[in-house]
């Protein structure tokens, strides 16, 4: 059956029939790949331009509508040997990119000014102790003013704006003392220059801006990098639905383009693309991503179904509906609104420090002026000394202390496969003392797997697994992942709802239900009896086997939970699944505190109760039913396979089949927090040493410059230790953790793995994973 592919939502139409589209491309690892794709595409008729951004692993294509369309471009890229996924750029990303450019411009201006002013300042400092004339010094000071004033007005904007914003809401942030310090230092310097004084602080003011802008830019660059990566992941995961037109014709459309009222066909093995009601067909659906329940539910005409469920057996036609009153989605959204509103804005460490720091600094400066006046100094001298106090305490080190650690820690987390949604998550992760896990898809793998406890002959298992490659049934997909040779048997026939048969070595082999394989009754392996496993039967010329398929724990779940408990964290399992399914998991992990059969509201209630006892809860969950709990918890993590709504409310996502990133996130965050505190302490010690000198009136511009750059470098170097420690740790556990993204260092092998570890919608995964490597080397 031919089916048209509708990609119109990703295409931007330009002038004169030209169009533009951005695609995330998998497997671009070297210069050869770039050339192959770009040359291969530009050779096609109608392509105006194709350009790969290797840093972002994205391809931008421009073409003329009359000659070629989006779907054939994707097909052409597939023909070259790569998988491309259309990409709808997000607003945030565009904003970030503009912001980064602006910061870089400010940084360039501040850097230019700092260098040139320092050139003049060093001449003055040298001249002051030798034979510089008053006229030359004044000329140099005026030149400095000429450079520094416009440069500070331009490059200081990020701080001035943020300080004004904070003051308007009657709050203090770190930018308030920074802005005040810069403005006062400049004003004082102009006054001193006009009165032919020996000292001016132009260099201090502009150097301060330069250092702080470096910190700001690095912080933003890190956030952009993770956001780009997350955007690529999202487009790789983006699913397509089969929309039925009025005439009964099928169109493949991206799920995001579905509207309420659309009719959609869901074939066996596919995910239900949107919430809606079944119009026709009967089937069983696996709702583990929605409710955590692992036993399939029978559905038929009129049943309400939710996005994310997997259709197991029969083809279904459904109508997309908006979330109606009384449905699960509506309840989840209502709870979400409440949880988000109730969540108190946690005050970040940096802002807390600023709220304490700014009044103290300003009071000290004021007291200094008063003190000198009482001691008999002139008004001018008193004010000059007070401003010198403000300059020397201007929180250069303090303002770098926390962002520098954050940048380094976010980089470590990124390499460990944890993608942060926001900056404050690191601090909140470090505070967590209780970890609440969801079971299905979080402690267990998102897809069921072959039960390892029952013994099956390896040759039989391999045949059954290869046979399963030809089936669309979810159970078969679980079995198919075990196939070593990933080539389907030629001539394999799937009989819907029953099984697959094929000739292997001249004899017919069957895989499917017990009846289909000719068994009199279901033969359950003794070890799996009474559990929640499902069974697939295999028969070929007297060789028979019954394979148990069930939810399996993530491979390192036991080790990780043990390590978490060893770090003093209290673990709890809250599941929407039945007690009979939760108990064995909790027992295997040694978690005594577990509850089963919980509704979304009950999960929130448990978390609220824990938090009212003063506990800081880290919630780890993936289901739609976990979304409100994730929003209510102090901090939250989601596996990348989680439901869309859930991902949106998690503070961070983790990649891969392992649970290790959860442990890693906590370890890195705790180390980062202790480094932040160390850095704050360093900044305080610096002030305790420098402030008395300033109060005594002994600060010259030279001392200010040395103190400022020295303290900034000290905290930055200390922040780098976050990386040293974390990456050492990572190297030790490298074997357990083969799928970390290595985008940051530009190492491509790791990244390729990261991309391929993204679970693609079945059955596309089978097709997508196989040919990638061979085709590239061919």
């Amino acid at each position: 059956m031919t089916e048209t592919l509708d990609l119109s939502m990703f295409v931007e139409h330009g002038a004169a029939g030209a169009s533009h589209m951005t695609l995330a491309v998998e497997g671009v690892a070297c210069a050869g790949c770039i050339r192959k794709i770009e040359n291969g595409l530009t050779k096609l008729p109608g392509i105006i331009d194709a350009r790969i951004n290797f840093t972002q692993r994205r391809l931008a294509v421009d073409w003329r509508d009359a000659e070629i369309d989006a779907a054939s471009i994707i097909k052409a890229i597939e023909g070259i040997g790569y998988q491309a996924h259309p990409f709808a750029p997000e607003r945030v990303e565009a904003d970030d990119s503009a912001q980064a450019k602006w910061l870089l411009k400010c940084l360039a201006v501040a850097g230019f000014a700092a260098m040139n002013v320092m050139l003049l300042s060093i001449s003055v400092w040298a001249g002051n102790v030798s034979d510089m004339t008053q006229e030359t010094r004044d000329l140099f000071h005026w030149l400095s003013a000429l450079i520094a004033l416009p440069a500070a007005a331009y490059a200081g904007q990020p701080f001035f704006r943020s300080a004004l914003r904070a003051l308007r809401t009657r709050q203090l942030n770190m930018d308030v003392p920074i802005s005040l310090g810069v403005v006062l230092a400049l004003a004082l310097s102009v006054f001193e220059t006009a009165t032919h004084a020996a000292h001016a602080y132009f260099d201090s003011a502009i150097m301060l801006l330069f250092f702080l802008l470096c910190g700001r830019y690095l912080d933003l660059a890190m956030r952009r990098k993770t956001r780009v990566f997350a955007g690529n992941l999202a487009s790789l995961k983006a699913e397509f639905a089969h929309r039925l037109d009025m005439t009964g014709e099928l169109t493949r459309v991206p799920v995001a383009a579905l509207h309420p009222g659309d009719r959609v066909l869901v074939r066996p093995g596919e995910r239900i693309p949107a919430d809606g009601a079944i119009l026709s067909g009967t089937s069983e659906i696996d709702e583990s991503l929605v409710t955590g329940e692992t036993v399939p539910r029978a559905v038929g005409g009129g049943t309400t179904v939710y996005a994310g469920s997997i259709n197991a057996s029969g083809a279904l036609t459904m109508r997309v509906t908006a979330a109606g009153a009384g449905t699960l989605v509506e309840e989840v959204e209502r709870l979400l609104d409440k949880a988000v509103a109730a969540k108190s804005q946690t005050v970040r460490l940096a802002d807390r420090a600023a709220q304490f720091y700014a009044p103290v600094v300003h009071a000290t400066a004021a007291l200094t002026a008063v003190g000198w006046l009482i001691a008999g100094a002139s008004l001018h001298d008193s004010i000059v000394i007070a401003i010198a106090v403000l300059i020397i305490t201007c929180p250069c080190a303090l303002a770098l202390a926390i962002p520098a650690v954050q940048v380094v820690a976010a980089g470590s987390l990124f390499r460990a496969g944890v993608i942060l949604n926001g900056g404050s998550a690191i601090e909140r992760l470090a505070e967590a003392d209780t970890v609440v896990f969801d079971k299905t898809g979080t402690l267990t793998l998102p897809d069921p797997g072959v039960d390892e406890t029952t013994y099956i002959d390896t040759d039989v298992l391999e045949r059954a697994a290869r046979l399963a490659l030809s089936s669309r049934h979810p159970l078969a997909a679980a079995l198919a992942r075990r196939a070593r040779e990933r080539i389907a048997y030629p001539g394999a026939v799937e009989e819907p709802g029953q099984g697959v048969r094929a000739l292997i070595d001249g004899e017919e082999a069957r895989l499917g239900s017990a009846k289909f394989c000719g068994f009199a009754e279901q033969q359950e392996p003794a070890a799996a009896r009474g559990s929640d496993a499902s069974f697939i039967s295999f028969a070929q010329a007297g060789k028979t086997a019954t394979i148990a398929i069930r939810q399996v724990l993530r491979p390192d779940a036991v080790a990780v939970t043990k390590a978490l408990m060893a770090r003093g964290l209290h673990l709890i399992v809250l599941s929407g699944d039945r007690p009979a399914a939760v108990a064995p998991v909790a027992n295997a992990l040694g978690i005594s505190d577990w509850r089963a059969g919980l509704k979304p509201a009950e999960k929130i209630a448990v978390i609220d109760e824990l938090q009212s006892q003063g506990r800081r809860v880290l919630m780890v969950g993936d289901g739609l039913n976990d979304a409100p709990a994730l929003a209510a918890a102090h901090v939250s993590l989601s596996p990348v396979t989680a439901a869309h709504l859930t991902q949106a409310h998690a503070d961070a996502l983790f990649l891969g089949d392992h649970l290790k990133p959860v442990l890693r996130a906590i370890v890195v965050a705790r180390r980062a927090r202790s480094l932040m505190k160390q850095n704050l302490a360093l900044a305080v010690i610096y002030n305790m040493l420098a402030v008395p000198i300033a109060i005594a009136g002994l600060v010259t511009p030279l001392i200010a410059a040395v103190a400022m750059s020295g303290s900034s470098m000290l905290v930055t170097l200390n922040a780098l230790r976050a990386r040293l420690g974390a990456d050492e740790d990572l190297a030790q556990t490298a074997d357990n953790h083969p799928r970390s993204p290595d985008l940051i260092r530009g190492r491509t092998s790791g990244e390729e793995e990261a991309f391929s570890s993204v679970p693609l919608p079945q059955p596309a995964a089978k097709a997508a994973r196989r040919p990638l490597v061979e085709d590239i080397s061919a």
């Binding site: 840093t55 411009k105 360039a108 230019f112």
Partner: protein, 49 residues
Amino acid sequence: MNVLIYLVPMALLLGLTGLVGFLWSLKSGQYDDLDGAAVRILPDDDIDN
């Protein structure tokens, strides 16, 4: 010290040239794909085989 009259403007002019050069390269998108620039020099596609 009359030498300053043309040395200082020259120093500033050189600095400004650098600044303008940076802003131009930023505007023309040369920092958009740093990793790409590093690998794009490798293929010898300008040499006829």
